[in-house]
């Protein structure tokens, strides 16, 4: 009877590496399309550019069934609490790609109506520049996100998301105690963050 060589049968690795390998190749996108970036996204997901090559072709319009939020377009201040709620409802672990300048910084809409960058209200992992970005750019953004997932630590991702939940609780407390709408509570929190020199509310 031949002796079993353990080196042929077993691969040793770190838990982070093997879990992240699985995560990065089975992303489930939630397309949060609010403007023309969503049109470029449709092209990217369709046959010519083919998002399926990266294992992320199954679009889910329910946050419960997705873990990669693609923000495709201008987010108004009125939409900000909705965006936060939907991000909170997504399955963990979750990532956010901010596609285009409107989502990333407000873009040309430097007005009372537009949120000046979604990273003020939810954590963003990758920013894709462009107005709108070409499908290749969005794909490149998703590839960058895959690189990021490959390298990250499982526990740090968990803490990262937990910080957001804390800020959501804070927002709900402000709304209940001061009788404000979600929009106004977020604006007040942003003003407070600006006074502290912080750029975000989470």
């Amino acid at each position: 009877m031949a002796e079993l060589d353990i080196n042929d049968a077993v691969v040793t690795t770190r838990l982070d590496a093997v879990v992240n390998w699985g995560r990065k190749n089975s992303l489930w996108p939630l397309p949060f399309g609010t403007a023309c970036c969503a049109i470029e996204f449709m092209s990217m997901a369709a046959s010519k550019y083919d998002l399926a090559r990266f294992g992320a072709e199954a679009m889910r319009f329910s946050p419960r069934q997705s873990d990669m939020m693609l923000i495709l377009g201008t987010i108004t201040n009125k939409m900000a609490p909705v965006l936060r709620t939907i991000y909170a409802q997504m399955a963990e672990p979750k990532w956010v790609v901010s596609v285009g300048v409107c989502a990333s910084s407000g873009g040309i809409y430097r007005t009372y109506a537009t949120l000046q960058g979604v990273d003020r209200v939810i954590p963003v992992d990758v920013y894709v520049p462009g107005c709108p970005p070409r499908p290749e750019s969005i794909l490149f953004g998703i590839m960058k996100l895959q690189e990021k997932i490959e390298k990250e630590s499982l526990s740090m991702r968990k803490e990262h998301i937990a910080r957001f939940y804390e800020s959501l609780e804070r927002q709900e407390t402000i709304q209940a105690e001061q009788g404000l709408t979600g929009q106004q509570a977020i604006r007040n929190m942003l003003a407070g963050a600006a006074e502290r020199g912080a750029g975000t509310i989470f």
């Binding site: 009125k78 430097r110 009372y112 000046q116 709408t181 604006r187 963050a193 600006a194 006074e195």
Partner: protein
């Protein structure tokens, strides 16, 4: 033409008028407004196309003329005649609502309240339409800063736009 009919039946109601390439505009004082609208409705102007407002912050707040023009657009479906009607009014005054005669006036008037802060007396639901309920100020007023005083866009937020005013009654 309907303007002659208004002149005949409500003499002196039209305080100003002009006609640019067939675009007829009349200016009516607030006191005569409802009588003129009733006449227009009788004459067949049954489609209220739009209501909007214009802010003229430099205009003096004398009797009958203030910083705002409330602008109504009508279409006569029988003969395709169009008419624009302007009502000048001062800040803090209210306009009578047209919701009883024209259902479409409901959201138009809410939008004007939201963006200009002009209230409509007798409106069944005078809430903001597009911004949120506790939005500070009225953004289409000329003295409202474009960035709304966003804490991250510090330029241009010196105008006095927020005195704790809230939407709704």
């Amino acid at each position: 033409m309907v303007i002659e009919h208004i002149d005949a039946q409500l003499p002196g109601a039209i305080t100003d008028r002009h006609d640019f390439r067939g675009d007829q505009t009349i200016v009516v004082a607030k006191t005569n407004f409802l009588a003129v609208v009733e006449l227009l409705h009788r004459e067949g102007f049954q489609l209220l196309v739009d209501i909007t407002a214009v802010d003229w912050p430099e205009r003096p707040e004398t009797q009958g003329v203030g910083r705002f023009d409330v602008v109504y657009h009508w279409l006569n479906l029988a003969n395709q005649e169009r008419l624009r009607l302007k009502v000048p009014m001062a800040d803090g005054e209210t306009m009578p609502t047209l919701t009883a005669t024209f259902k479409t006036a409901n959201w138009f008037e809410r939008e004007i309240f939201d963006l200009f802060g002009i209230r409509f007396e007798g409106h069944p639901d005078m809430r903001r339409l597009v911004t949120w309920d506790d939005f500070p100020g009225h953004p289409l007023r000329k003295d409202f800063p474009l960035d709304g005083g966003d804490a991250f866009c510090m330029e241009g937020c010196t105008a006095p736009y927020n005195n704790g005013e809230r939407g709704g009654e």
